[in-house]
Amino acid sequence: MRRALLTGNAAAAWGVRLSDADYVPAFPITPQTEIIETLAGWIDSGEFRGCRMVTLESEHSMLTAAGGAAAAGARVFTATSSQGLLYAMEMIYTIAGWRAPFVLVNVSRGVATPITLEPDHNDILAARDSGFLQIHCATCQEVLDTILIAYRLAEDERVRLPVIVNLDGFYLSFTREPVEIPDEDRVRRFLPSCCPGSIRFLASRPLSEAAVVLGGSTYSYFRYETHLALMNALGAYDEVSEAFTREFGRTHDTVEAYRAQDADLVFFMIGSFATKAKDAVDRLREIGKPVGLVRPRMLRPFPEERIRTLLRGKKAVAVIDQNLSMGKGGVLHAELASALYGQPGMPATLASFIGGLGGRDIPPEEFYEIEAVTRRAADEGTTPPTRLLYTKDELRDIRKLQAIAQAGQIKAKEEP
């Protein structure tokens, strides 16, 4: 075991190296590229023996190769972001049905239009219903640890599904944090090298994979099978995570609760911005506000029972969505509402806030305002409308930029 200052991307690469992955189909995209560059460097220098990397011509092909190799029995890793994930989306859905376990890291980045490099969760949430498991990380340590956990979970015979491990672009991908890099022999105890149960295509044992079905009955059978395998992953996760804690001493539950037990109001959010919420919780606690944070790490399968247990008896939840379902609102808010509605003892007020789109910061003052608005609504027994976080200053700056551009245009017309 050693400690190093690692970016989220480097932590991801370490996770892959320690997992003894056999195969990495790749395609560059910001802010993910550092992961495949790091892996390529280790493969070229001989530090990561026995791993082969191939660069495909697109993410669509990259995911197809990943699925093909995983179905053939190799331990596979791949990574992408944003537009790349969307470009690959046909194969994200398709491969989940192959029931081929592997790990995909998505480094979250907002999706076009407008095109941007900075993070939010609309990319990863587009994969929500695909059949991939989905785990969201908030720290660089978590990124490394979660990749080890993800392989063991993906390959569990009750699950046999690919897993997306998500980290936020820039805020995690390019931020250095102290990370414990576990020794390889301990990792091998937790996650043995791959995985005879995965090998499917052999000359002596031919197999047809992903054949066409005719009729809704056969189709439904396979769709239900995949759904039930995802549901199995909840129980399997707890076992895997316990084994992880035994081996490495760190705990990563499906849902993290921070100062939530005696809180009457909790922030509910995913990803690295949740660490900002933690800081706000500490400051609000200092002035006597009983608040906490509940952060699902696992989004698929959705750990409903655990979330209900953590929220039972609370007055209010402020859901902060770093995504926007156009024409509806926050995705996480809708997910949470469906998990809580009609259940006994659930908070009556679920307030929805949209923030952090395209890397826009959520400063402490906004957390205080979110707390105040939500508490007021709870006291009045109401639910406030969805709030799109944006300040007057930001709007003024945009108007200023537009005015400058327009003035320039007029000037250019006058002096051709």
Binding site: D22, S61, T64, A69, E209
Partner: protein, 304 residues
């Protein structure tokens, strides 16, 4: 061809490894080719399939193949082949499976994918030197969805999306030359109605490593409009009129494995198919027939 084990039609395999009773149409020229490919390659194969007519070969829980099958998508079958090939190499290399378990990786695709959506993934697989056979059954349209025109549709053909009096205004893309420009290990055009030429080319492809193309013109009674019993005859006419040249790319050189010295007029091929019936009635379109003839003549003049 002196080193071939296929000297006469009697040398063709007499046992057939691809099962009968599939969902393909009667008289399918693509299936005719696939039968021979399976017979000669043998069961140690994995077919990686792109969306098309032949996706319906493996309908859960049945398959006509002795070997393995993986359906991928329309655009990315060569990438699926890459993943499977690499995984097999890795597993054999690490001793996790025995070399006896190795498989030939065969991409099976129609022209809709091969000439269009799948071309980028194909080009990239050739560039990487992927060790695979790429079998395209080219029935010159999106057959599985009712024969809309594709990038492989020939000039003037009527399809369900080119019903005007002049048929399809575009010209068939030359996929063989696109492959040849990539300098693959091997590329060949084939047709089921010349089983000996086909057998020799499958044999040649099997003996090589790297990217290998078998591009089969696949006469299609359903899409082209003729009696299924005439598929072999239509295929023979495609070759004898010079419309479908039987070619081979090997070691940087392109050779014709069959030169139709006494070429039949294109009319004898076109007039047998419903998709060209508008050229012959109610009024003969002499200029369009002549234009097609001119194109074929020009090809063979250049080919020497």
């Amino acid at each position: 061809m002196s080193d071939t084990r296929f000297r006469t039609v009697r040398d063709l395999p007499s046992t057939h490894v691809l099962g009968a009773g599939t969902a393909m149409c009667p008289g399918c020229g693509g299936l005719e080719v696939l039968h021979e490919v399976c017979d000669i390659l043998g069961p140690k194969t994995i077919v990686v399939n792109a969306a098309g007519c032949m996706t319906l070969l493996a309908i859960y829980p049945f398959t006509p193949f002795y070997g393995s099958w993986l359906y991928t998508s329309m655009a990315s079958a060569p990438a699926g082949a890459q993943g499977v090939r690499d995984a097999l190499d890795i597993l054999i290399g690490k001793g996790r499976i025995s070399p006896d378990e190795n498989l030939d990786v065969v991409v099976l695709t129609g022209d809709g994918a091969a000439y269009g959506m799948g071309l980028s993934a194909t080009s990239s697989a050739i560039e990487r030197g992927l060790d695979f056979i790429y079998l395209c059954y080219d029935n010159e349209g999106f057959g599985n969805t009712g024969q809309q025109y594709s990038e492989a549709t020939p000039h003037a053909a009527m399809t369900s999306t080119s019903r005007g009096p002049l048929g399809f205004p575009g010209h068939k893309k030359d996929l063989f030359s696109i492959w040849a420009a990539h300098r693959p290990a091997y590329a060949a055009t084939v047709i089921g109605s010349d089983p000996l030429d086909l057998a020799r080319k499958i044999e040649k492809a099997k003996s090589l490593k790297g990217p290998r193309l078998l591009l089969a013109l696949a006469p299609c009674p359903t899409g082209w409009g003729y009696d299924p019993a005439d598929s072999v005859e239509i295929g023979k006419l495609a070759v004898r009129t010079g419309i479908w040249p039987l070619r081979e790319y090997l070691d940087g050189k392109i050779v014709h494995t069959h030169i139709p010295h006494q070429r039949l007029p294109v009319e004898s091929y076109l007039s047998r198919q419903g998709r060209f019936s508008h050229l012959f009635g109610p009024v003969r379109n002499e200029s369009l027939i002549a234009e097609i003839q001119k194109g074929v003549d020009a090809y063979w003049e250049k080919a020497g």
